[in-house]
Amino acid sequence: MKNLRLKAARAGLDMSQQDLADQVGVSRQTINAIEKGDYNPTINLCRAICKALGKTLDELFWEE
C-alpha cells in the first residue's frame, strides 16, 4: 500500500526524495520504495524519517 502521508509530508517541506534520503542516511531508492509501499522500513528508519520530517510515527506510519 502506498504511503501517501509520507510523500505529502515530504512535499510539504519542499524536500526531494534525495534530500530526505541524505538526511536519514539511506538511498533515494529506499525512500521511493517506502512511499510506493514496496518496502516496510524498520522502526529505527521510521524514527529517523519522522525526526527529519518533524512528524510522529502515528502521523506517518500508523494505519487507521
Binding site: G25, V26, S27, R28, T42, N44
Partner: protein, 357 residues
C-alpha cells in the same frame, strides 16, 4: 578522502591489468628471445608420382643458453585448424620426419616411429640451428614407412588406399603451413610467480573492497536485497554445477570438463549482480553508476575482442573441443549483459526521478 580512495583503486586495477598483460608483451620478443614463434609455408610439388623437394630446412637462432621447449605444428592448406591435433600421416601429407641439427651438423632431435608430433625439451646452447623436414618422395617410400611404423606389412597397401593418398595419383602442388614455437623452460618459475602475484592481487583487491564497503555503506533495504541476491547467485551456481557435472559425466557436449566448471560460475555472478542492480542494491550510498558502467563496458569489449580473435585464429578449441579461450567469451557475455542491465536501470531510474520532480 573519497577521491584518494578511487585513485588508489584505479592504481591497483591498472597494476593488475599491467601484470596480466605482461606475458603477452614477453611473447612478442624478437626471434631467439625467451619465447618465440615462427610461421612459414613450404610448397611441395608432385609430378609423375615424385615429390619435390624431398626435404626442406628452416634455420632458427637461440640467443641464450638454456632449456628450451620446442613444439611444432603443421597445417596443409584447407585443413580445419581446430582439428590440427587429430591430423594423421595422410592429413600431414608428405611429412615423415622432423629433425633438429646444430651448426656443426650434429643431429639433436628426431621424431620416430611415425609419431609426427614434436614437443620436447632440449638443453640448447646459444647458436644457429636447423629444423629439417623430410617428405615421402614417392608412393613406394610411403608404403615402406607404413610397413615400418604404422601397421603390419600385409595391411600397408590397404592402409595407403584407405588414407586416400590421392596426391600420389596425379600431379599436384601442396602448400603446407608450418609453425614452430620455442620457449625457455626456465620461464616456468616466472609464470608460476606471475600466477601467484595475480592471485595475491585479486585477494588484495577483494579484501580492500570488502573492508572499504562496510555494511554501513548499504542501507537496511539494500542489505536485505543483497542477502536475497547472494541466495539467488548461490542457487544458480549450484544448479549450473550440477548441470556441468551431468554434462561432463555423460559427455553430452564436446567441451573440456574444466571449462564447463569454470563457465558455471558466470551465471551465478550474473544472477547476483543483475538482481542487485535491478533492486538498487549493487551500489553503496557513496558509489556512482557511471564509473561501473564504463568498467563493465571496457572489460566486456576487451574480452569480446580477445574471443573473436581466438575464433578467427582457430584457437578456441583443444583437440576440436572448446578450451579455456571460451572463458573470454563467457566473460565478454557476462560483462556486456551487466553493462546492459546497469544501462537500462540507469535509464529507468532517471525516468523515475523525472516523474518525481
Amino acid at each position: 578522502m573519497e577521491k584518494k580512495k578511487n585513485i588508489f583503486i584505479c592504481l591497483i586495477l591498472t597494476l593488475a591489468l599491467g601484470i596480466i598483460l605482461l606475458p603477452f608483451f614477453f611473447s612478442k620478443d624478437e626471434k631467439g628471445g625467451n619465447y618465440s614463434n615462427s610461421k612459414w609455408t613450404h610448397e611441395i610439388t608432385v609430378k609423375d608420382g615424385t615429390v619435390t623437394p624431398g626435404s626442406t630446412t628452416t634455420d632458427f637462432t637461440i640467443a641464450r643458453d638454456g632449456n628450451y621447449r620446442i613444439s611444432y605444428g603443421w597445417l596443409p592448406e584447407g585443413t580445419d585448424k581446430n582439428k590440427i591435433m587429430e591430423l594423421g600421416p595422410s592429413d600431414a601429407h608428405f611429412l615423415t620426419v622432423i629433425q633438429i641439427f646444430d651448426s656443426k651438423g650434429e643431429q639433436l632431435f628426431s621424431t620416430c616411429a611415425g609419431y609426427l608430433f614434436a614437443d620436447t625439451v632440449m638443453d640448447l646452447p646459444a647458436g644457429q640451428y636447423s629444423a629439417v623436414y623430410t617428405y615421402f618422395t614417392d608412393s613406394d617410400s610411403f608404403m615402406e614407412f607404413a610397413k615400418e611404423n604404422l601397421c603390419p606389412a600385409r595391411q600397408a597397401g590397404q592402409l595407403a588406399q584407405d588414407m586416400g593418398f590421392e596426391n600420389f595419383g596425379g600431379d599436384a602442388v601442396v602448400r603446407i603451413n608450418y609453425e614452430m614455437t620455442w620457449r625457455a623452460s626456465g620461464e616456468d618459475p616466472v609464470f608460476a610467480l606471475w600466477i601467484f602475484v595475480i592471485i595475491l592481487l585479486i585477494l588484495t583487491i577483494v579484501v580492500f573492497l570488502a573492508v572499504s564497503k562496510k555494511n554501513e555503506d548499504y542501507d537496511e533495504r539494500q542489505q536485505l536485497e543483497r542477502g536475497r541476491a547472494y541466495c539467488l547467485g548461490f542457487m544458480t551456481i549450484l544448479i549450473c554445477m550440477f548441470l556441468a557435472i551431468t554434462i561432463d559425466a555423460l559427455e553430452l557436449l564436446p567441451v573440456q570438463g574444466y571449462v564447463l566448471y569454470a563457465v558455471s560460475i558466470f551465471p551465478g555472478v550474473m544472477a547476483f549482480v543483475t538482481y542487485c542492480v535491478w533492486h538498487e542494491a549493487y551500489f553503496s550510498l557513496r558509489e556512482k553508476e557511471k564509473s561501473l558502467l564504463i568498467i563493465f563496458g571496457i572489460i566486456g569489449a576487451i574480452n569480446l575482442v580477445i574471443s573473436i580473435t581466438a575464433i578467427l585464429e582457430g584457437r578456441l578449441g583443444v583437440n576440436g573441443r572448446p578450451g579455456t579461450s571460451i572463458l573470454n567469451l563467457a566473460c565478454a557475455v557476462m560483462f556486456l549483459e551487466l553493462f546492459l542491465v546497469v544501462f537500462l536501470k540507469k535509464i529507468r531510474t532517471s525516468k523515475e526521478t523525472d516523474e518525481e520532480d
